[in-house]
């Protein structure tokens, strides 16, 4: 029998006292006003290949990903994906920066599922729902953008992590060339503002409610159910300015980190957070604390919410 959450309403006895209170008093409502600003500035190179010809994709030289994380190209790549867009390269970059590409922007796609320690594959072996991706008809000379991405997939969650990508440009009569995906194929810069938004005032409460959030850090529509993880970071010496200056490494810079799974939830008691050793979060002190709400399924690694907790 599957588990159920069950309670019985009694007409006289306030069972709410047993369940943590009759009202939602004490909740800390996070709002868009508290959310940081983040806008990615991705740059990706373009490699010219022969239109309508098969081409080998080589990712053996990819040892540092776009987020500056070390990686092993022979063991950490799960899928290599080609996407053909109805957009220009500039439009695709804008969509990646804002994490708001639509499926209708994609006119074709195919995946190569990496097996063993492979570090390369022919585009003709890529598949779309079992159907091959024939270069003769799919790799055509056009203004539309083609993007080839190297992706890690978390075996447990299934989440995809875009490690690196490059544009390819099929040109009729261009000389044959392999597609090389390496550390320099694309780069990520960003604009971030944490300091310029009001801190979350907890007034001693640890119960956080984020159901009022409506916008992503780049001011696009936020889907609440995309929030699946919460992170609380404590910094003894680093300032907000330090973290803004090295935003890609705010986890590494933390003195203490606490995590929690909030998939499907709209509120969470921070006292349920634990660090990597299983130690529970016990409350705030006077140092700098950052709260992040993250999305494991989004292309962008930037948290959907990030703010200073006061």
């Amino acid at each position: 029998m599957r588990p159920t959450i069950r309670a019985v309403i009694a007409p006289v006895v306030c069972v709410g006292t047993l369940l943590g209170g009759c009202t939602k008093n004490g909740e800390v409502k996070i709002t868009d006003e508290n959310n940081y600003y983040f806008l990615a500035d991705v740059t990706a190179g373009t490699q010219t290949i022969t239109a309508q010809e098969d081409t080998f994709v080589d990712w053996s030289g990819l040892t540092v990903d776009i987020r500056e994380r070390d990686m092993d190209p022979a063991s950490e790549v799960s899928v290599v994906r080609i996407l053909r867009f109805t957009l220009t390269q500039d439009e695709v970059i804008e969509g990646i920066n804002r994490d708001n590409l639509r499926q209708s922007d994609v006119s074709g796609n195919a995946d190569y599922e990496v097996s063993g320690s492979e570090t390369g594959a022919d585009l003709s072996t890529f598949l779309f729902l079992g159907t091959p991706f024939p270069p003769a008809t799919e790799l055509v000379d056009t203004d539309d953008a083609y993007l080839v991405s190297v992706i890690s997939v978390d075996e447990e969650s299934g989440y995809e992590d875009y490690r690196m990508f490059t544009f390819i440009d099929p040109v009729t009569d261009a000389p044959p060339a392999e597609v090389i995906i390496d550390n320099a194929s694309a780069s990520l810069d960003y604009t971030v503002d944490i300091d310029g938004v009001p801190a979350v005032e907890t007034e001693g409460s640890t119960l956080i409610d984020w159901t009022s959030l409506t916008q992503t850090p780049s001011d696009d529509i936020l889907t609440l159910s995309n929030i699946d993880a919460i992170m609380l970071a404590q910094y003894s010496t680093a300032t907000v300015a330090d973290l803004e200056a090295d935003f890609l490494h705010i986890e590494e810079a933390a003195d203490r980190l606490f995590y929690g799974d909030v998939s499907g939830k709209g509120e969470f008691d921070l006292l349920e957070l634990t660090d990597q050793d299983g130690n529970a979060f016990e409350g705030f002190d006077d140092t700098l604390w950052l709260l992040a709400l993250r999305c494991g399924t989004c292309i962008s690694p930037a948290p959907l919410f990030l703010g200073v907790i006061r």
């Binding site: 309403i9 007409p11 306030c14 943590g20 969509g95 889907t223 159910s225 995309n226 499907g264 709209g266």
Partner: protein
């Protein structure tokens, strides 16, 4: 007449508050379906549940007239406060218990949808759509007109589900499951409750794409059927070397055709018709599509729809640009398209005068016309409606939407006539759903983010039968 018993209490029950005459009312949030709230109570009288997003409620659910009552909030939005009222009518008195409960949300792995256009006064009355989302975030879902996911579950991993709909006369769901590479026979139609409890399974051997349910519960589907054929009028060179086979001293080509199969509720499957008994095998447009690993792709059967009034099926073959009308004895009543008797023409359309191409989901409209989704990779894929002339064996275009818009669909697609005469258009792999007026105005549009697109999607009226 409304009577309230006891004081109005502020009771936190699963994140909400209840008050009034509550007796033994139990409230359960279903952990498998975060937008479902189950109520049960014991009180002699007529029971009902009312719920909505404020104190005007709006949705009324019958909970029966026995001593014990059960009812559920179904199809609520995620992470929303639901106002509910449990009512038991005893004589002329209503005994009420009121409260609120917050629904939970979907896992982030569930597909997202976004609203683009919504003209509330222009759309048809169907408030929901149910369907399958595929690829990155494979999900079985129902959305409301705000494009909010109001019911959902993850699709089975490493399988394809392209169709889910309500089982006739119930609020159980039936959906298909088959191998995502078509290489293994996993074909099954599964029945479950909205609470995801399994009810029944029907094997559909080598079933793929879509299925149709008849009024008597029979499931009819299209199955993969490979045969080794001797080239007739074409060279064996047209056959991929992987699919050539020597048999009885003759070089043959393994070709993938299809069977139309009925599976009665209580009985053995019946093959109504095989494509090898209808068509000559001819290498055609999708011959080299490599869709099926068993052999050369030939007809690419991609839809079967049953029409209750005609008591016939429309069986679609995208690879031949052809549709067969087949009765329940397996006889071909009429044939339409490139390899059929009835030829289609596109009214006033300068290009593509060969009629429909790589069509999806042909079906009859209430007016007796044939509506379908057709492909045109140069100018855009679109919905098209044909008037059928039996005397002259012609199909003449009488309405279309989306031609020349340039939406290039890679897979799937649908067109369904709605109650008010509007047409629901599913643009398959582009992840766009639309409702379009007869005049061609888009009155509702929802879309997915990159990585997710649609199998079949159906409008429906209510979560309550």
């Amino acid at each position: 007449m409304t009577g309230r018993y006891g004081s109005v209490l502020a009771l936190t029950v699963l994140g909400g508050c209840g008050g009034g005459y509550c007796g033994d009312v139990s409230v359960e949030l279903d952990p498998d379906v975060p937008t479902k709230i189950d109520f049960a109570w014991e009180k002699k009288g007529e029971g009902r549940l009312e719920w909505g997003y404020d104190e005007s409620y709006g949705t009324v659910v019958d909970a029966g007239s026995e001593d014990a009552h059960e009812a559920s909030v179904l199809g609520a939005k995620q992470l929303r406060e639901v106002f509910w009222k449990v009512v038991t009518t005893v004589g002329n008195n209503d005994k009420e218990c009121v409260g609120t409960t917050d629904t939970l949300g979907a896992a982030s792995s569930i597909a997202d949808m976004f609203l683009d256009t919504y003209e509330p006064t222009e759309v048809s009355s169907e408030p929901y759509f149910i369907g399958a989302a595929m690829f990155d975030a494979a999900t079985l879902f129902a959305v409301d007109r705000d494009a909010s996911m109001v019911w959902f579950m993850p699709a089975e991993e490493d399988r394809l589900t392209t169709e889910i709909k309500f089982k006739r006369g119930t609020n159980n769901l039936i959906y298909n499951v088959y191998a995502d590479r078509y290489d293994t026979d996993l074909g099954t139609v599964k029945e479950m409750t909205l609470g995801l409890d399994p009810v029944n399974e029907t094997r559909i051997e080598w079933g793929h794409h879509f299925f149709t349910e008849l009024p008597d519960g029979t499931i009819t589907y299209t199955a993969i059927h490979a045969e080794n054929v001797v080239p007739d009028g074409w060279s064996i060179d047209a056959c991929d070397e992987r699919f050539r086979i020597m048999e009885d001293g003759v070089e043959k080509c393994t070709v993938v055709g299809h069977d139309l199969v009925e599976v009665p509720l209580d009985g053995d499957p019946v093959i109504l018709l095989s494509t090898f008994d209808v068509f000559d095998v001819v290498p055609w447009e999708d011959w080299d599509l490599n869709f099926y690993p068993q052999g050369q792709t030939w007809l690419h059967a991609n839809a079967v729809n049953y029409d209750e009034e005609r008591e016939t099926y429309l069986w679609s073959f995208a690879g031949y640009d052809t549709v067969l009308e087949v009765d329940r004895t397996g006889s071909v009543v009429r044939s339409f398209g490139d390899f059929g008797d009835y030829k289609a023409t596109l009214g006033g359309y300068a290009r593509g005068e060969d009629g429909f191409n790589f069509q999806h989901d042909p079906q009859w409209t209430p007016d007796g016309n044939m509506l379908m989704f057709t492909y045109d990779h140069e100018n855009g894929c679109y919905a098209v409606e044909f008037e059928v002339d039996d005397a002259n064996q012609t199909m003449t275009e009488v309405w279309q939407f989306g031609r020349d818009e340039g939406l290039n669909v890679q897979a799937l697609g649908q067109a369904i006539r709605l109650k008010n005469g509007n047409t629901f258009v599913n643009y398959g792999s582009t992840g766009i759903l639309r409702e379009v007026s007869p005049a061609g105005q888009v009155v509702w549009e929802a879309y997915t983010g990159s990585g997710t697109f649609f199998g079949n999607v159906y409008p429906f009226d209510s979560f309550y039968p």
